[in-house]
């Protein structure tokens, strides 16, 4: 990997300064990053010039929207005409790559800065008002000690290193942080932005420590609510689902204009419900709660990046992200597929190998 630049120890200040330097020297048309909203919240912005720009909060530990979803809405019609620096978390980048494979977005001219990710806090925490001190403590995560209050999906995330980012903010030796290059483009940008900064690279020890912590976290989060034992448990977990489908709307992969499960196809006519009513003595209204979630798995589990946005927006706190993570991991393992690893990798559902899965059908 190309040389990385030491950006110091003081996060997130160091990161902000690094981004500043990149924006000044990188020749970008704009920067896509989290920033402070007028009301003191946090959301994504496309910022083009310094004056009048909101306070940039790159990689602030929340995910108000999945960047992949926003980028998709933006680039659905075609590429951005000029280079834009996009600052997102690994799962956001992977989500976008997956949706680009579905031709719903375009990677051209987007330069990605990502991070060896420490995870993010639940959305509710933002709306409840943000405690600045939390951010300072948060950036200590490379020591592998679990950060309190992270979203479950993040606690159990083992894919915290970005695959296709041009620039990666990574923990470096003895508490320092490094801006490392993930591509030649990234290398050039670093050369230009930090000609004199001391060289630094990812600290394998830190990555190892994080990996250990995350594996443990994964076991932990998947062992409770997500550990469903068949239909009866599913009905319990999804029992409180109010059918708002917020999960699918926040999902970076769900891209349908009209979700099949919101179409008239899914609506039983009363004539047919009568039969069910006879057999069961009662039917839920609206029906099809479990079908929606399982059906959605069937549609996007191969590409689920376990970003956790679905759970973030669930008004009734169903562990959606954990269930989807569990199922997604199983499906992806079977196809030896890692969503978002490489945009050239075909979607498992759109390709096949004649000699594969011999056991099926015989």
């Amino acid at each position: 990997m190309a040389r990385g630049a030491d950006i110091g120890t003081e996060m997130p200040k160091a990161l902000r300064e690094a981004v500043q330097r990149l924006m000044e020297t990188g020749g970008f048309e704009g920067t896509f990053t989290l920033a402070r909203t007028p009301g003191g919240g946090v959301d994504y912005f496309l910022s083009t010039k310094e004056e009048g720009a909101p306070e940039l909060l790159p990689l602030h530990p929340v995910m108000p929207n999945h960047a992949g979803r926003l980028l998709r809405e933006m680039t659905l019609g075609g590429a951005m005409r000029g280079k834009v620096l996009v600052i997102t978390r690994p799962c956001e980048l992977r989500g976008f790559v997956e949706i680009v494979k579905r031709l719903q977005g375009c990677l051209d001219n987007l330069v990605f800065l990502s991070v060896v990710c420490g995870g993010v806090f639940p959305l509710s925490m933002v709306s409840a008002g943000w405690d600045g001190k939390r951010t300072e403590e948060y950036w200590a995560y490379p020591d592998g000690r679990p950060v309190q209050g992270l979203r479950p999906a993040c606690q159990g995330c083992t894919e915290f290193i970005p695959y296709t980012a041009d620039l990666v903010v990574a923990p470096s030796a003895n508490g320092h942080w490094a801006l490392t290059a993930g591509s030649e483009e990234g290398g050039r940008l670093i050369e230009r932005a930090f000609p004199s900064a001391p060289a630094a690279e990812m600290d394998p020890k830190a990555l190892e420590a994080m990996a250990v912590a995350r594996k443990a976290g994964r076991e932990e989060v998947l062992s409770h609510e997500a550990d469903v034992k068949g239909l009866s448990d599913l009905v319990k977990v999804f029992g409180r689902c109010i059918g708002c489908h917020a999960c699918s709307k926040a999902c970076p992969i769900c891209y349908c204009t009209l979700c099949t499960f919101e179409s008239s196809r899914m609506e039983d006519r009363m004539e047919q419900s009568k039969g069910q009513l006879e057999v069961k003595g009662g039917i839920r209204a609206p029906a099809g709660t479990v079908l929606f979630h399982i059906g959605r798995m069937g549609h996007m589990a191969v590409s689920c990046v376990a970003c956790g946005c679905c759970q973030d927006v669930c008004p009734v706190g169903i562990p959606v992200s954990l269930l989807f993570k569990k199922v997604g991991e199983a499906v992806q393992a079977r196809f030896e597929y890692v969503p978002g690893r490489d945009v050239k990798e075909a979607l498992p559902i759109n390709t096949f190998q004649p000699m594969e899965f011999k056991e099926m059908g015989e």
């Binding site: 704009g30 919240g41 929207n65 509710s124 059918g243 419900s273 609206p286 009734v316």
Partner: protein
């Protein structure tokens, strides 16, 4: 009914639960095919509307749960959108939910032909998200409960008897079932009851509470109006909105299959966004948050029943129900319309009067 309606006082269980055995009776009698009401979900941690045919299921019934999950209007719509199929349903729900159902029937999304709406005095519900988090499990929400949702605290129609049959009970009153029309009277008979008791006590209690709530509503929504007047202030109110449109999805009135504002999200090209950002220095994404809310107000504020489902479903804590109440109170009164109160009155925008919308000074507004 010109003279004051009479009702049937119910012995036995107190409060809304008194309904359950009566519903069972109606089912066994066969005068109705099914009952639609909230049941405790298998996890025992929430409630869901279920169309019940087997009376045994009524054991899990809770006619008036402390929280609103899916609104009764949407539940009824999911069953009868394509026609009621001749199934005679007793539908038990809160006044605001019933009003939602009535609005939906005007919009062709609910078929009330064979439905008997049963409403009841509503003490309000607690915020869905707090309830779901489990840090709020009131055994029974009292009428004075401070934990009920802000929108409920300013609900002046919490006891609106919009159903065919209405259960009065609040403030220590003995539960009394009051038929509001023929259909309600039939249902009452089916339950083996007669409307003999006088209802004046209930009516006085209700009217005084409605009065009190009306004043509170005007006061609080007035404050909100001031606090959010003008673009900037409104922006601040909506600041935490992440534009997920979940308010729209939880709304019983928003019945479109694909929301126009969901499609529009994708109508701008990357370069247009870039140009807009350049013009302003920066551009918040997703865009059109304000546009969405204003557009939605335009689409449904005339039918808004202030059920608060939107606020319950909002993951970002926007006081959206109150904002909509604030607006819809105005738009509706402009047309002398109160959503869901009168089944005969047509939805304002599909009708008109020769002389209307005139200000006091006679000039058109």
């Amino acid at each position: 009914m010109s003279e004051a309606p009479r009702g049937a006082t119910i012995q036995g269980e107190e409060g809304p639960r008194a309904l359950v055995p009566l519903l069972a009776r109606a089912l066994e009698k066969g005068t109705s095919d099914a009952v639609l009401l909230p049941l405790r979900t298998p996890g025992q941690d929430s409630y869901a509307f279920v169309l019940v045919k087997d009376p045994r299921l009524l054991r899990q019934a809770d006619p008036l749960p402390p929280v609103q999950t899916v609104t009764g209007g949407r539940a009824l719509s999911s069953l009868t959108r394509h026609g009621g199929g001749g199934v005679r349903i007793l539908a038990v729900m809160r006044p605001c939910e019933a009003r939602g159902a009535i609005e939906l029937s005007k919009l062709g999304q609910v078929d009330l032909k064979d439905v008997t709406l049963i409403t009841m005095d509503c003490p309000g519900t607690v915020p869905l998200q707090r309830f779901a988090r489990g840090d709020l499990r009131p055994s029974a929400v009292g009428f004075a409960d401070q934990d009920i949702r802000p929108i409920c605290q300013v609900c002046d129609l919490s006891c609106a008897a919009v159903g065919d049959l209405h259960l009065g009970w609040g403030e220590g009153l003995a539960p009394i079932l009051i038929p509001m029309d023929e259909r309600g009277a039939e249902a009452l008979l089916a339950m083996g009851l007669r409307a003999e008791s006088d209802t004046s006590e209930w009516r006085t209690t209700v009217s005084s509470r409605s009065q009190e709530r009306r004043e509170r509503r005007e006061e609080r929504l007035g404050q909100l109006r001031v606090a959010s007047s003008g673009l900037d202030n409104l922006m601040v109110r909506l600041d935490s909105c992440i534009n997920c449109h979940n308010c729209m999805r939880a709304c019983p009135i928003c019945y479109c299959r694909v929301c126009a504002f969901d499609i529009r999200r994708q109508e701008r090209s990357a370069n247009e966004v870039l140009d807009l950002a350049k013009a302003r220095g920066s551009m918040r994404l997703p865009m059109d948050t304000l546009m969405f809310h204003l557009g939605r107000m335009n689409h449904m504020s005339l039918n808004c029943v202030s059920c608060g489902a939107c606020e319950d479903a909002c993951p970002a804590g926007v006081p959206i129900a109150q904002l909509f109440a604030m607006v819809s109170d105005r738009t509706q009164s402009a047309f002398k319309y109160r959503a869901g109160m009168d089944r005969q009155q047509r939805s304002p925008l599909i009708t008109f009067l020769e002389k209307e919308l005139e200000g006091e000074d006679g000039q058109r507004c």
